[in-house]
Symmetry: C2
């Protein structure tokens, strides 16, 4: 019998998150205050985040304890299995060994609750009664609804109106966990009211939804705001994924030649690869490949510059590869990859050539997802499918070269609420989008001066 | 640290299915040929089932080997975890210990592939190129699509038209695994053509869909038919669930006082409880409670009689509790529980008072599902929610009595494609249905004479 998956015991689950900031061979560019242009200090962030998360955001400590209460919730689905994709390897006729970490077993169906649960817990510890956030496709909103539910915190999600109408199941999921979900723009905030006054029929955007969620938190004493990717503390919480995977690969007696993941804000892949980065810095010949859409080619085509995290320009300035905070994404199905910026940690690693990036078209991405579903069974999210495509390409290169490389990817979530995208694929209605170079150049003009 | 779940290693997965026929303290009533009224022999079934499954259907052997190829596919999601529902226990403030077996981790999202994979394998072994089936809500159709895909068999699913139109995601799932799914009635069969000629706008029914799938199999040499519940061999394949659960409870150092599951055709709960039945026959004080809808009260209100398995009267006659093969179910959301009959093994055990049954209204069932989702995280299928309600009631009785009973249920599948039902619940649009006693009496007139 050949093992299909390596399953850790609950006792083997990580009890600390790994903080890459302790091991980086360079200084991270500081986060800047949008008004003063000076590095932000904890107090600047205190109106919208609890102090413990702000501390984690800036911590130099290599290991940060996972509170027992958070571990206890993690155990509802963690440790997650690491699969050897034997059937897919056979179908691809490759000598490569392919492994994947399967995060789709969590109740919301992705890696997102790894940080949602932690954020809800730390907010609860500081007496926060209510958390606001925005969501596009709904993956993050449902994870935060789940996290808040378990710690008895009210949760309000501003969901981009077009998604709210097109993806009712994600909204119902949030309501099942007791969250309130409203279409954004909403009449509940000044930002929302202003947009509605101008255009009552607007489909909304992630930028507007962020503005509403931040305004709501900033104007209510008992309320904080929560972000599902990009920031250091979010990536930190996701390192449980990579720490488990590393242990599981050890049990399998393997070490990766190539790590692959998809990147939108960067948290799923960073959480997966960061625990391996130190090995690479210490000389391991490890390739780390980020998969992003051609429709949103942040690492592969955008400049490395300071920019806002949101459209309205309310957030601190982050040094990142950015398509410009006024970026309007083409309508690809991988909603979670349609963000103009990228986690600063990922950007710095890319800038220092420690990690690589590839941009992909969605038709080829869905081809790969079908190949995977028909051999491994699991129907992955369109975001995750970007990673699947890169793995398939690397495995086929191994077939050419005859090399038995070990390729490991983060299978970050299922596509149960994205089947309309698969339908479009089968109906031949998918389109590929290349984001125009001119638009990237144009966006440079909108970058804040620092 | 208190364990949340008991996870077996792949090496601990059962290698044999358990056949209850070897241990029953009574003779099962024979299956009768619809034309002759005489017990069927294997050759009668050969046009629509492969011989190995017919053998299993009638086998007196206690243990039947699970082929290595089937075990190999099972390992894509098995062994499944057994959870201790500590958060739910706490919320219910009960001294009871509640465990659940979680079958929602399979790619199609339920227990159904346990038999779909086995059936696809045995068909493949006998050179079958194509399998037909019917599906209502789509849970069974997607499981068979998955099973056929992995063994390279064509799969055609006749999906009740109203479901085909209302639940496009289940259809897309089947297509992702390469199956062909058509709305029934279809122009592809004589049965379908006849119905369409009479009423081109008919919403279809499971009865018509079965007729189409059986006709298709019977009129194509390379094609067999597959059924997802009711029959002995289907229940046999599902015993992997109970065999694993038994081992997991041993590891937890517990033995159940009460087992609970929902019943439609009976396969998920039978697969779960059958491996415990021998203990009960040997004197263990174990209660086994079947949960069914008030809208389809097969065990609790129907007579025990010979009836057809389908509406058109094409199948052999089975001795079962039956609401009459012309039964038209009220529109409750638990589509998988809307069957007029019940697995003959379950019926015989019920008739001999070895197992119990409870009939429930759907509003109370969804109340329980919400209580479960808000503590354990998982959003269960409306069918499974019936089991959740019975567990909740038993746990609350323990609160009253102060007894620390061990209650174990089969959490047979997730509700990701049933969130419209949760929405109806939140919107106050759910209705309760009690199936009228008069209708049951009336249906007695249609029972076949034997």
């Amino acid at each position: 019998m050949q093992a299909t998956k390596i399953q850790l015991d609950e006792k083997q689950m990580p009890t600390q998150w790994y903080n890459i900031l302790a091991d980086l061979p360079f200084q991270m560019p500081p986060v800047l205050h949008p008004a003063t242009g000076k590095p932000v200090v904890p107090d600047d962030l205190a109106p919208i985040f609890p102090m413990e998360l702000i501390k984690q955001e800036m911590s130099p400590e290599r290991w940060i304890d996972i509170p027992e209460e958070v571990q206890d919730v993690y155990r509802l689905w963690r440790p997650t299995p690491l699969y050897r994709a034997r059937r897919w390897e056979k179908a691809l006729d490759t000598p490569a060994k392919i492994y994947y970490k399967w995060e789709g077993v969590s109740p919301p169906g992705s890696h997102k609750p790894n940080t949602a649960v932690a954020q809800a817990y730390f907010n609860k510890q500081e007496g926060v009664k209510r958390i606001t956030t925005e969501t596009g496709a709904g993956q993050w909103g449902s994870a935060l609804a789940f996290g808040c539910d378990l710690f008895g915190i009210e949760c309000k999600v501003y969901m981009v109106r077009v998604s709210y109408e097109q993806k009712p199941y994600r909204r119902i999921m949030m309501e099942t966990w007791g969250a309130k979900c409203v279409p954004s723009p909403s009449p509940d905030t000044k930002a929302g009211q202003a947009v509605l006054a101008q255009d009552p029929d607007t489909p909304g955007s992630l930028g507007i939804a962020i503005s509403e969620a931040v305004e709501d938190a900033a104007t209510h004493d008992d309320t904080k705001y929560s972000l599902g990717s990009v920031l250091n503390h979010v990536l930190l919480h996701q390192t449980v994924v990579g720490l488990e995977a590393k242990k599981q690969l050890e049990i399998a007696g393997d070490y990766p030649d190539i790590l692959v993941g998809c990147i939108g804000g960067g948290s799923n892949f960073a959480g997966f690869f960061l625990p391996f980065v130190k090995d690479k810095l210490d000389g391991k010949p490890l390739r780390i490949i980020c998969a992003e859409p051609q429709a949103c080619p942040t690492l592969t085509k955008a400049p490395y510059a300071y920019d806002f995290g949101d459209v309205a320009g309310l957030t601190p300035l982050l040094k990142m590869y950015t398509l410009g905070h006024t970026f309007v994404p083409p309508p690809i199905h991988a909603g979670g990859l349609r963000y103009h910026g990228m986690a600063p940690i990922i950007c710095a690693l890319y800038n220092h050539k420690i990690i690589e990036a590839v941009a992909l078209h969605q038709m080829a991405v869905f081809d790969a997802a079908i190949s995977f579903a028909r051999t491994e069974g699991f129907i992955v999210a369109p975001e995750t499918a970007h990673a699947v495509k890169v793995v398939m390409d690397e495995a086929l290169k191994c077939k050419e070269s005859g090399e038995a490389k070990t390729i490991v990817f983060n299978n970050s979530g299922h596509g149960h609420f994205d089947l309309a995208a698969y339908e479009a694929y089968f109906a031949g209605k998918l389109k590929d989008y290349t984001y125009p170079e001119e638009k990237i150049k144009e966006a440079l003009k909108d970058l804040p001066k620092v």
